[in-house]
C-alpha cells in the first residue's frame, strides 16, 4: 500500500507537473578563453574532476583526472595551455571515489613509468577497493588496473596515497576497515578504521601483502605521504586517540611491513565527527640547498626525520589551519604557526623549492573562494603573506602544489574555468 501511495505521489509530481529544477550554473560548458568545451561530449581535464598532477623532468605536466566512470591521463608541454588527447586508464568503467578528499593519485616510477592509484566504489556503504595501474610507454597505454588490498572483503579500502621512494619502491597507504568488519562479526566494538599499506619492489608490476600500521584511524580524511630515507615512506593521518581525540599520528613505513607510529599533533580535538579534512606533509630536507643546518629547531634532530606538516583542527588547543616542523621519530614539534583560523579556510598544501617553503589553501569569504599563499624563506621559521593567487565564484576542487624545474606551481580545478596551472 505504502509503495503504491509513494509511487503515485512521484508519478503525479513528475509525470503531470514540471518538477522544480535546482538553479545550478551549467555544468556542461566550460568557457576557457576563446574556446568553449561541450563537456557532455568531450573528455578533457577541464571537464573532468579531481585532477592530480606532477611535472615530469620538471617541465612536462602529467595529469590524472576522473570523468564519468573512468580515470584519464593527459599531458601538457606548455604548462597547461593545451593538452594531449586524454587516455582512458580503465577500459572497463568503474565507479570512482572523487568526492570529499578522495582523488586519483599520480607518481613517476624509477624508469619513468606513469603510476596511478585511485579508490573504486564497491557495492556497500563507504566500501571500496584500492586500484593501481601503470604505463611503461609514457602514458600511451595503461596496464589492466588491479586491486591492491588483499582481503577480498566488501569493506572500506579508500583514501589511497601513493609515494615513490628515492630507491624506486612504490608505497600505497590507505584507510581500511577489514578489522572493523572482523570485530563486528565477533560482536566486538571497534573505533574508526585502520591504516594499511603495501609496497611494490618491481616498479608497480605487483604489490606486497598488506601491512597494518595502526588501528583507530579517522575514517574520511586524506593521508599525507612522503618519502623517508632511501626506501621508506612517512605517513601522517588523522587518528582517533583515547577519549575520541581526533588529532594526528605519523609513522615511518618500512618495505618489510614494519612500522611504528607516534602522536604528531596536540590539538585536543575531542569529537566523534567527520572533519573531511586531512593533513599534508613534505620532507624538510628534500633539497641539497636546504638551510636546515642553520635552523636551531632542526639541528639536533636527525634531519631524516624532519618534516614540514600542515593540518586542520578545531580542538581546544588549536583551531584552524596550522603549520609545524615535525620530528617523526621523537614526535617533537617546533615552529608551530597558525596559518588561518577562518572557518572558511581549508585544505592546505605544502611544497618546497630550494630554500622556499610554500603553503597554499582555500578560503571562502562568503561570496568567493580564494587560493591563499604564504611563503617562508627560512625553512618555516617565519612566513610572508603572498595574498590571493586565484579566485572563483563557483565550485572548486582543493588546491594542489606541484614542483617544476623552475619553481612551484598551483594546480586547481574550478567548474567555471576548468583546470588551471599557475606558476607561483
Amino acid at each position: 500500500m505504502y509503495s503504491i501511495i509513494t509511487t503515485l505521489i512521484k508519478w503525479v509530481t513528475i509525470g503531470v507537473f514540471i518538477a522544480p529544477v535546482p538553479a545550478y550554473p551549467s555544468e556542461h560548458n566550460r568557457e576557457l578563453g576563446s574556446a568553449t568545451l561541450d563537456c557532455e561530449k568531450t573528455v578533457h581535464v577541464h571537464c573532468g574532476k579531481t585532477p592530480s598532477a606532477l611535472m615530469r623532468s620538471g617541465h612536462q605536466l602529467w595529469v590524472v583526472f576522473t570523468q564519468q566512470d573512468r580515470v584519464y591521463f593527459t599531458t601538457s608541454n606548455n604548462q597547461g595551455a593545451s593538452y594531449s588527447p586524454a587516455v582512458a586508464v580503465n577500459s572497463q568503467p568503474e565507479k570512482i571515489y572523487n568526492n570529499g578528499e578522495n582523488r586519483p593519485k599520480i607518481a613517476i616510477g624509477k624508469h619513468g613509468e606513469v603510476l596511478l592509484s585511485w579508490s573504486k566504489k564497491t557495492a556497500g556503504k563507504f566500501t571500496g577497493d584500492i586500484r593501481f595501474s601503470r604505463s611503461i610507454d609514457n602514458g600511451k597505454t595503461f596496464e589492466l588496473p588491479y586491486t591492491v588490498n588483499d582481503d577480498g572483503l566488501l569493506a572500506t579500502h579508500r583514501f589511497d596515497s601513493l609515494q615513490v621512494t628515492d630507491s624506486g619502491k612504490i608505497y600505497l597507504a590507505w584507510i581500511d576497515k577489514r578489522n572493523r568488519v572482523a570485530a563486528r562479526k565477533n560482536g566486538e566494538s571497534y573505533v574508526g578504521a585502520a591504516l594499511y599499506y603495501a609496497v611494490s619492489n618491481d616498479n608497480g608490476a605487483s604489490f606486497s601483502d598488506n601491512y597494518k600500521v595502526a588501528d583507530s584511524s579517522c575514517e574520511c580524511c586524506r593521508i599525507a605521504i612522503a618519502a623517508h630515507g632511501e626506501d621508506e615512506a612517512a605517513v601522517l593521518w588523522r587518528h582517533i586517540f583515547p577519549g575520541s581525540i581526533r588529532d594526528h599520528a605519523a609513522a615511518i613505513l618500512k618495505p618489510n611491513g614494519e612500522s611504528s607510529h607516534i602522536r604528531a599533533t596536540m590539538d585536543n580535538w575531542q569529537i566523534n565527527a567527520c572533519p573531511h579534512h586531512g593533513p599534508d606533509m613534505i620532507r624538510a630536507t628534500n633539497t641539497s640547498t636546504s638551510t636546515s643546518t642553520n635552523n636551531p629547531n632542526i639541528s639536533g634532530m636527525k634531519n631524516d626525520n624532519a618534516y614540514h606538516i600542515v593540518w586542520f583542527s578545531n580542538g581546544d588547543d588549536h583551531k584552524g589551519i596550522y603549520y609545524g616542523l615535525q620530528n617523526l621519530n621523537t614526535g617533537l614539534q617546533s615552529q608551530l604557526y597558525r596559518v588561518d583560523d577562518n572557518a572558511g579556510a581549508s585544505h592546505p598544501q605544502l611544497a618546497q623549492y630550494g630554500d622556499r617553503l610554500f603553503i597554499a589553501w582555500k578560503l571562502f569569504d562568503g561570496e568567493n573562494t580564494h587560493i591563499r599563499l604564504i611563503l617562508s624563506e627560512d625553512n618555516g621559521l617565519s612566513f610572508v603573506d603572498k595574498g590571493t593567487v586565484l579566485s572563483t565564484g563557483a565550485s572548486s576542487d582543493h588546491p594542489l602544489l606541484i614542483e617544476g624545474k623552475d619553481g612551484i606551481y598551483l594546480s586547481w580545478h574550478t567548474s567555471q574555468q576548468g583546470y588551471r596551472v599557475k606558476a607561483l
Partner: protein, 188 residues
C-alpha cells in the same frame, strides 16, 4: 562499516502510513495550483522528495518553525557518525511525533534518490522534513547555515522557541537528545 541498527524501523514506517493520504491531497492540491513549493513549506505540509537547499533556505526553514523549538541536523552520506545519529533521530521522531526535526544533507541534490533510500533504510518516514544541498558551490551553503562552522559533521543546531540556537559538532548521545526533547517537546 557503519554501525546501523536495522530491522525494527521498517515496520514502524509502515504503521505510520495512513497519514500519507493527507499528503497526497496536499501535494495534489499544490500541484493543481501549478506551483510546487521549492523552498520551505509550512511544517504541516510534507513532501516526498528532499527539498533543494539554497543559500536562502535556512531563513525559510527558521520562519516555518516560528515560535517552536526545532532540531536542525546537517549530515552527509560520507559521514559514518551521521548515519548512526540519523538512526537514533528516526527512532526518537517515531517516539515523539511532535519533535520538529529538520535534516539537511550536504550531498548534492542530484543524487537525491541515494539520499532518500538511505533515510528510508535508517527508519525515516517520507514525511521527514529533509533537504539536500542545491548549489554547486557548497561553501556558500555552509556559510549560509553558519559562517563559524568548519564543515565537520554531524552538525546540530538546537533552536529554542525564541529562535535562538545552540550549535554542536559530533555524534549526539541519545541521552542528550532525549533530555532536549523532554524540555522542548510536549509528550504525546
Amino acid at each position: 562499516m557503519a554501525s546501523i541498527s536495522r530491522g525494527t524501523h521498517l515496520s514502524r514506517v509502515t504503521v505510520s502510513k495512513p497519514f500519507n493520504w493527507f499528503s497526497i491531497a496536499i501535494v495534489t492540491a499544490v500541484c493543481i495550483a501549478g506551483s510546487l513549493p521549492n523552498a520551505a513549506e509550512p511544517s504541516s505540509v510534507k513532501t516526498f522528495e528532499n527539498k533543494p537547499f539554497y543559500h536562502n533556505s535556512l531563513r525559510k526553514i527558521e520562519s516555518s518553525y516560528l515560535g517552536q523549538p526545532f532540531l536542525l541536523s546537517v549530515w552527509s552520506r560520507e559521514c559514518a557518525p551521521c548515519i548512526k545519529e540519523l538512526a537514533t533521530l528516526a527512532r526518537l521522531k517515531a517516539e515523539y511525533p511532535a519533535l520538529n526535526l529538520v535534516l539537511i544533507s550536504t550531498d548534492p541534490i542530484e543524487n537525491t534518490s541515494e539520499t532518500n533510500s538511505l533515510l528510508t533504510e535508517l527508519g525515516h518516514p517520507n514525511t521527514v522534513n529533509s533537504w539536500a544541498y542545491a548549489d554547486e558551490q557548497a561553501e556558500k551553503l555552509r556559510y549560509s547555515i553558519d559562517k563559524n562552522w568548519y564543515g565537520e559533521m554531524p552538525r546540530s543546531y538546537f533552536y529554542d522557541s525564541k529562535g535562538k540556537r545552540k550549535a554542536t559538532s559530533g555524534l549526539l548521545s541519545e541521552a542528550l537528545l532525549r533530555n532536549w526533547i523532554h524540555k522542548s517537546v510536549k509528550p504525546r
